[in-house]
Structure formats: structure tokens, C-alpha cells
Amino acid sequence: MARVTVSVIQFGGSNCDRDAVRALDEIGVDAELVWHEDGLPAATSGVVFPGGFSYGDYLRAGAMAARSPIVEEVRDAAADGTPVLGVCNGAQIGSESGLTPGAFTTNRSARFQCEHVHLRVENADTPWTAAYDEGEVIELPIAHGEGRFEIADDRLEELEREDRILFRYCDADGEVTEDANPNGSKHNVAGVLGDRDSVAVLMPHPERAALPDIGPTDGQGVLEGFAE
């Protein structure tokens, strides 16, 4: 496998940054931590916005980080085809920056939720889901207080028409039900694509389900989006 270097962007309050590097290393993808003020390294072959609580979730989760200068660099790189993945707080940064559609806001429960969920693969024809089959059910952890996917109804229909929904919350049998929706997300959406297939965000944590010594490795397939 070719060695490529993925930049995992650290903001003050990021806390899944090292997990992402470790998980990428596990599948043979070289990754390094990049402090946001240092700018995006020229040789970056991919970008991860990791989970955490950047800027203490002030104003809205991801709102501050999304307006930091490095995000403009990531936007340019994404426009050139560099793969970009946002996980949890990184997903909030993705949507707050407009890299991906919709918004992730307060859970229906109004509580922080830390649990395992089932996800149905909605579109297996993307770099992030090519390791799975369409309709396959995978299990990943979630850990968020603001993960409810919100978007205008007509925009959601557009996303669905364009096949830009990556994952939906479902039960163990793959049924997309209200009971299986942990946070009240519209149409159970857990992850979406940006304008191009190479840009994606999701609230569940693939990097927390990627090391065989710890447990299931269902998340590895998402990270394979960075493998060449």
C-alpha cells in the first residue's frame, strides 16, 4: 500500500486527534497531527477534522474552529480533490464551515449521549464506504451532545436524490426506525457527503472502532477512504 500522509488537525479542545492517527496507522495510512495555527502542510494527502470540543463548543459546536484560517486551506485542498473527513466535532466543523450540508445541533434528549449505535450504509459507492456493501449494518460508538442532523426539507430531499447520505441510524437488523435514532436526526441521517464524494462527515466515531486489540473494527472501512 502506498504511504500517504494525512493531516489530523488539532484545535484547542480536540481530543480524538491521537485516536485518529493511531487508527489510520493501524490500516497502514501515515498520518500526523497538525496544530491549526501551523497551517496545512503542502504535502497533505488527506485531512481529518477530529472529534472533541474545539473552543469549548462556544457559540455552537464547531462554530469557532470552522472560521479559523486553516479551514480555508482545507477548503482549497478539498476543491482540488484532497479527501476530507470530519468526525463528531469534526463533522460539526464541516457543517459550520459549509463544506458539508446541514447542521448538527442539540440532541433531542438535550443530553450528551455516549453509546454504541447501528448504522446502515446508504451509499457504498464512495471512498468512505467502498469497504462495505450498500445496506450493510455496522456498529460504531457515538459520543455527542449536539449530533441531531437538521436541514430544510427540500435540501434533504435533494441530498437523498443525489445519494449524498452516507449512513443512517438503524436497528441491528438494518431497519431505519425512530427508536434507533439516538439524537432525533432528520431521516436518521448520521453522515453526509459534501459537494464531492471526497468530502464527508459523520457523527459516529470510526476511529474508536478500528483497533482489533480493543474490540470491533467496523470503523476501519471509513478510514480506508484515505488509502490509495
Binding site: 447542521a103 445541533t105 442539540t106 440532541n107
Partner: protein
């Protein structure tokens, strides 16, 4: 230049679920209050110096567009008043 305070109020769009407001409403009802509905909003008071009120409002409007509100889920209003500098 005149001293103004621009007040930006950011609200969830109608129809967007607000679990914190619902929880607050339930708690008020538990305290015995009778209310039909409750909406919460964020308010920002921004002191600016500008040539006139329109210029102050325009600057605050841009702040709301760029950061204070998220257009996917929020509506916002801007009000400008002169302040004692």
C-alpha cells in the same frame, strides 16, 4: 462617528426542534406555571462606532451572517440604538 449598540438576536427557525427550550418549559410547568409555549434565543450586544445607524446595522448584520447565526437553523434580527460613549 457615533457610538451605537447593535443588538443581534439569534433564534431557531420555526419548526426546528429546541430540546433545551422544551426542557425549560416542562420545568416551568412543573413549578406550577401555566404557559402555552416557550422559545429561547441568543442575544448579542455589540458596541460599534459608525458613521450612522445604517452602517452600524450593516456591520452587525455581517457579523450575524458570518458567525453569530447558522443560516441552516437560525433566523436573526438586528436592532441598533445610540449609546453614551
Amino acid at each position: 462617528m457615533t457610538a451605537y449598540t447593535a443588538t443581534v438576536t439569534v433564534r431557531l427557525k420555526r419548526g426546528v426542534l429546541d430540546p433545551e427550550a422544551e426542557t425549560t418549559q416542562r420545568q416551568l410547568e412543573r413549578l406550577g406555571f401555566d404557559l402555552a409555549d416557550l422559545r429561547s434565543a441568543d442575544q448579542f450586544e455589540i458596541d460599534v462606532d459608525a458613521t450612522d445607524a445604517d452602517a452600524a446595522a450593516e456591520r452587525a448584520d455581517e457579523m450575524a451572517e458570518r458567525l453569530l447565526a447558522n443560516p441552516t437553523i437560525h433566523d436573526y434580527t438586528v436592532e441598533v440604538a445610540e449609546r453614551d460613549a
